[in-house]
Symmetry: C2
Subunit: 223 residues, 2 copies
DNA sequence: TGAAGATATGAGTAAATACTCACTTTCACC
DNA sequence: GGTGAAAGTGAGTATTTACTCATATCTTCA
């Protein structure tokens, strides 16, 4: 039913001016997406804003979707870069430190073009998150889980996968909501402290759940 | 010559058959929204599925948006009902009990037509959440904050508003994600236990953040 | 019963917009 | 400067789809 549409560019720019054209189109698209939302982003409008003809746009992007896909691709690359810088550092720290750094990184990631981030995460009509972004989240999940497993002796959780899931969802949801919908810089500091305290307590502190690590809960269960 | 656009007010169904027509339209709309997504939901299709003419649809819904709005209205009424049943009970319990019940309620709420819930929360293009839903969330937030304030002596948090925010975001995000994207019934039990443990620990257990309740953090900050 | 209003019909319209293509211009290379 | 390929153009097309309205059919109630 849902015929998957082609997302790859039909033509790759080889000459310098063609590359410049692609850049100018992508930038205009981002600007318009932020300013007018997905609905208000028409290909003609993007071309006009870019100072380029619609034909040129369609030379490199076979359809509107592919243009948005390129915006996502670039944005996610930025997010990933910000995260991958912090991850190795976190792996070396103790639990409290790692949690703190994770939260800091989440904040930092949400500092990157938050307007675009909001539009991409809220306004683009699609079934579930983009596969590329899902892969990114999966990767972070795997890393965190591996870290938990390496530090198992220090932890008080029945399932490292579940713990990774809860921690990621908690941090992401709290930070995202704060940054996207109601940021003031002051909030952020205390939010980070509290999240950090809650998660560290959860991981290392309190009494474990009733039936710890009883059955194989399946690594597939908490992706 | 002023070509004035005729603005027909939406007609309210008075006769029984008219009410039946509205019902049949709303039900078809919900079915199609779930099955084909927002993009695939055309007014003609809804009318056809409902066994009714497009004209009839437009007799009661001035435009497509209003039809979706009605679906949201009904769905949110169900959510609210489920929550408002549990809230008074929770107020009477101790912190651990209240947290448990809150999580249970969140799960219960996400059991109501999860397919529709997913589409409404993910696929409907709009800027931020619907105002009606926002009001609902706000109400839950206020209640939880009030509860925290009443139990202040038992708690270990610097700011009840911030605590309410974190707790709600955490529960909602974890439960939503689990129910909408990767449910198996088994997961749910342990997830609830772990969330419960984490949040209770956070609220009552561990050492408070560095600078507790220093400045007026503003009740407006954590809505 | 029959008139007046309520309800239902669905072919047709208007408008928006993603996308094309015949053509022109620019570039790379000799 | 000539030539072939790459890049660029933008008026126009094709399609989709929300929405209308003249007309027909039901309901109510005097």
């Amino acid at each position: 039913m849902t015929a998957r549409r082609r997302v790859r560019p039909r033509k790759l720019p080889t000459q310098a001016r063609a590359k410049a054209t692609v850049e100018v189109i992508v930038e205009a698209a981002a600007r318009i997406l932020v300013r007018h939302g997905f609905e208000g982003m028409t290909t003609n409008r993007v071309a006009e804003k870019a100072g380029v003809s619609v034909g040129s746009l369609y030379q490199y992007f076979p359809n509107k979707e592919s243009l948005v896909a390129e915006l996502e691709r670039r944005h996610h690359a930025e997010l990933r870069a910000a995260f991958e810088e912090a991850l190795p550092q976190a792996m070396a720290l103790d639990v409290a430190g790692a949690v703190s750094l994770l939260i800091q990184s989440a904040v930092k990631v949400h500092t990157i073009n938050p307007e675009l981030h909001r539009v991409l995460s809220e306004e683009i009509p699609r079934i579930g998150p983009a596969p590329e972004f899902k892969a990114f989240e999966q990767e972070v999940y795997e890393n965190l889980k591996a870290y938990f497993e390496a530090r198992r002796s220090e932890l008080c959780v029945p399932d490292t996968g579940l713990a990774a899931f809860i921690v990621l969802r908690t941090v992401e949801a709290s930070v995202h909501d704060t940054m996207i919908h109601q940021t003031t810089p002051q909030n952020l500091g205390l939010l980070g402290q509290e999240l950090s305290r809650m998660i560290t307590l959860y991981l290392t502190g309190g009494p474990v759940s009733a039936k710890p690590a009883r059955a194989k809960l399946g690594k597939a269960a908490w992706h």
